[in-house]
């Protein structure tokens, strides 16, 4: 009886040791939390140079007292043939093991992007720590390393700040979009090509590294989202800007909200229309071996500003503006498709769509799809609606013709 009780006690003790299940435990103070990664080509070698932006926990604490005067982040980099090798090699420099579950941003250097990005994402899929919904950007005219070092005003963690920037502009301006690793992998494995938003440092990037830079109203270096990088066979070929970039997103059905300045009879781009709903349907078919791309855009918006007199209480005037809006949207869409056709880069997933809807026809054309894509005919239809004029109907400006 006594022996049995003893045995039970021992068993319970052993069970207690197992039940804490801390075999895999890693304490918070043993981790270096990585918020962003920059991937560059190592100079003169076929290796990656990987830069990690790491949170400095003591200076991000919300209580003012704990502030140490250090910047909120620190940066380590390492070079290796594989990304995983580089991230483990960083242990030589870092006092804590890198922890990747909070990595929200991956910046790819322009050189890297031009020499090909197809093979870099495997580790993101395979690892359980790295997240597939991290945002990807291409550093424009610069290496990713220098982007990772720049401190931002307002946002204490620069990687998060950059992610917020791209999301912000994607949501209301619509020339760029937040593209995740997951989308890129799907783009690479699919039949089309990918686009990635660019980021460019405006100003002096050496100053941008310093904390002192933040102690002024206008910082000396500010990273800004700039352009949409078009890839072909995994290599960056060109940047699209302005309305061409917007047109790309329009055709891809990724416009959330955007603004279009439309022309009126008298003056150019003088009425601002705030588009707050947009939907695009695409369809692809083959006619005598040549693809025809049907793009159907529906958009709705309201008038936000007008620079001259216009009788906005008159439904016919609104109808004219709607027509003009549709025309300008159509032009932007066509320009962007033609730009992609010049590059022979199917960034609109037309190939995927053809494969999905008409797999047999796709089989016949898949070999030389990129040249067929370039010859493809366009059929763009736009339905534009203006639903409101804001808080006023007529503007306060008087109609010159009447006052005379």
């Amino acid at each position: 009886m006594k022996g049995k009780r003893l045995l039970l006690t021992v068993f319970c003790m052993l069970a207690v040791m197992l039940l804490t299940s801390c075999w895999n435990s890693r304490e918070l103070n043993e981790m270096a939390i990585v918020t962003g990664m920059g991937i560059d080509k190592a100079p003169d070698k076929d290796e990656y140079r990987v830069t990690f932006q790491i949170v400095n926990p003591s200076s991000t604490a919300t209580s003012m007292g704990a502030s140490t005067g250090q910047p909120t982040i620190t940066v380590y980099s390492a070079t290796d043939r594989t990304l995983f090798g580089a991230l483990r090699k960083t242990s030589k420099k870092a006092a804590r093991q890198l922890f990747f579950a909070h990595t929200q941003l991956v910046v790819i250097g322009e050189d890297m992007a031009r020499s090909g990005i197809d093979d870099i994402f495997d580790v993101f899929e395979r690892s359980h720590e790295l997240r597939l919904n991290a945002t990807v950007l291409v550093s424009r005219g610069d290496d990713a390393n220098s982007i990772m070092k720049i401190l931002l005003p307002i946002e204490s963690l620069p990687a998060m700040g950059l992610v917020k920037k791209v999301r912000n502009t994607a949501a209301i301006w619509g020339e760029n979009r937040d593209i995740t690793i997951f989308e890129l992998i799907n783009g690479i494995t699919g039949e089309g090509e990918v686009v990635i938003s660019g980021i460019r440092v405006i100003g002096d990037k050496e100053e941008g590294k310093k904390k002192a830079n933040l102690e002024q109203t206008e910082v000396k270096a500010i990273p800004a989202i700039s352009g949409l990088g078009v890839f072909k066979k995994g290599k960056l070929v060109t940047w699209l800007e302005g309305s061409e970039a917007k047109g790309v997103l329009w055709v891809q059905n990724k416009i959330d909200q955007t603004t279009v300045n439309i022309d009126t009879e008298g003056s150019e781009a003088s009425v601002a229309v705030d588009i707050n709903y947009s939907k695009t349907a695409i369809n692809v078919e083959l006619r005598e071996g040549v693809p025809v791309f049907h793009v159907h855009i529906q958009e709705e918006g309201k008038i936000s500003e007008t620079r001259g007199f216009m009788d906005l209480s008159n439904g016919d005037e609104i109808a004219k503006l709607e027509e003009q809006l549709a025309k300008q949207t159509k032009e932007a869409a066509i320009r962007s498709i033609q730009a992609a056709q010049r590059l022979e880069s199917d960034i609109f997933d037309f190939g995927n769509e053809l494969k999905r809807l008409r797999p047999k026809e796709w089989e016949a054309v898949k070999e030389d799809w990129s040249s067929l894509f370039a010859q493809g005919k366009l059929d763009v239809r736009v339905e534009a609606h203006i639903r409101g004029t804001g808080m006023r109907l007529k503007p306060y400006l008087q109609n010159k013709d009447e006052s005379n």
Binding site: L18, W23, E125, H128, I185, R356
Partner: protein, 365 residues
């Protein structure tokens, strides 16, 4: 010893948890392209018919489990060795589930914990509950069914609410897709997970109201088939065909993509919990079936004594059977193609036919 009795609700819960088990987390029907959800629906009627065969045999021989009526129908000389085959297969299948769970847990979060420790902890739980008996197991199943439903509801809700579902990945279905879906439905999905229910034949005699076993079982199978179909359709629609087929653990990848308002994210724990619960019930039922058949064939009075030996064999065969996960999957393919169909479908259907013939011609002793 008192005969253990379970209720219809408990049987219902057991069947659903068993069906969902591993099938809900691992990619199934690998040959069916984006129409995997369709192949599950196509395999469902087959699964129901197969269950009706098991159900009918058990109704014809009340109180007997599969090894019992095999001997009655085919005679002792053929029936005994044939029933003996079920023991290693049940145990091996249980060990395969354990292996899958262990490997997925290591890949997904316990990267530095030895597989032995993870598997051993799960097997200890299984041995414990088998030692407590079928009634306890059935009651646990009833409780965990609710847990699984809640988890499943939360997971599907957040995935849909996060706007990740893209129906383009599911449609359209061309004639070739239907053919492919049908090919992967029969026999693959028909056998795994539906045919695996052959283990439930060891539980059916314990049902309090045995006349309800048909209705309950069919209900449970249809519901679990629909749940599987919806879950895999969601996974496929979120991940796309390519990622779905390359993923070892598509459900986990799906949930990691959720980011609802920058606030609801990293819900991986829910999926890990689903995996552990599902595998626990599936493995326990396999072990229970192995124990029941062993006890019946070798006339062991106290079945609980067999819990530890069966558990230990399952634990060790779980990692001896394959040196790595790809090998394990390869073995699974062979096992699913050549061995399981014989035991899950061919033998029961044969028994059913032989039984009918003997009854017809009055050859029943």
């Amino acid at each position: 010893m008192r005969k253990e009795v379970i209720g219809t609700n408990q049987l219902f819960a057991m069947i659903i948890l068993f069906e969902l088990g591993t099938a809900i987390v691992v990619p199934i029907g690998l040959e069916s392209g984006h129409a995997v959800w369709l192949s599950i629906l196509l395999a469902l009627p087959g699964g129901v018919l197969l269950y009706l065969v098991y159900h009918d045999l058990s109704r014809q021989y009340p109180g007997l489990i599969i090894s019992g009526y095999t001997r009655k129908i085919l005679g002792r000389t053929i029936g005994w060795p044939l029933s003996l085959l079920y023991i290693p297969v049940f145990m091996f299948n249980g060990s395969r589930n354990l292996r899958e769970a262990g490997d997925l847990l290591i890949a997904a979060s316990y990267d530095r914990t030895p597989v032995f420790i993870i598997n051993a902890i799960m097997v200890i739980a299984v041995m414990y509950i088998l030692n407590k008996g079928l009634e306890v197991f059935a009651r646990t199943a009833e409780i965990y069914l609710a847990v699984i439903f809640v988890l499943g509801f939360i997971c599907s809700f957040v995935v849909i609410a996060a706007g990740l579902v893209d129906f383009k990945n599911l449609f359209p279905l061309h004639a070739a897709d239907w053919r492919q879906a049908f090919r992967s439905a029969y026999p693959n999905i028909w056998i795994f997970p539906f045919g695996e229910l052959v283990c439930i034949t060891t539980v059916l005699p314990h049902l309090k109201e045995s006349r309800l076993s048909g209705k309950t079982g069919v209900g449970a199978i249809v519901l679990s088939g629909i749940l599987l179909c919806v879950t895999h359709a969601i996974e496929m629609s979120v991940l796309g065909e390519d990622v779905y087929h390359r993923a070892t653990f598509p459900m986990y990848t799906t949930i990691t993509l959720v980011n609802l308002a920058n606030f609801i994210q990293r819900l991986d724990a829910l999926v890990i919990l689903t995996l552990i619960i599902g595998v626990f019930f599936k493995m326990t039922l396999y072990c229970y079936a192995a124990i029941a058949v062993t006890a019946d064939l070798f006339k062991v009075q106290d079945t609980r004594k067999l819990a530890v030996p069966v558990g230990v064999v399952v634990l060790f065969s779980s990692f001896i059977s394959a040196e790595n996960y790809p090998r394990h999957m390869e073995e699974g393919g062979v096992f699913l193609r050549y061995i399981l169909p014989v035991l899950c479908a061919v033998i029961p259907i044969l028994l059913f036919i032989v039984h009918r013939i003997r009854k017809r011609f009055g050859l029943l002793r």
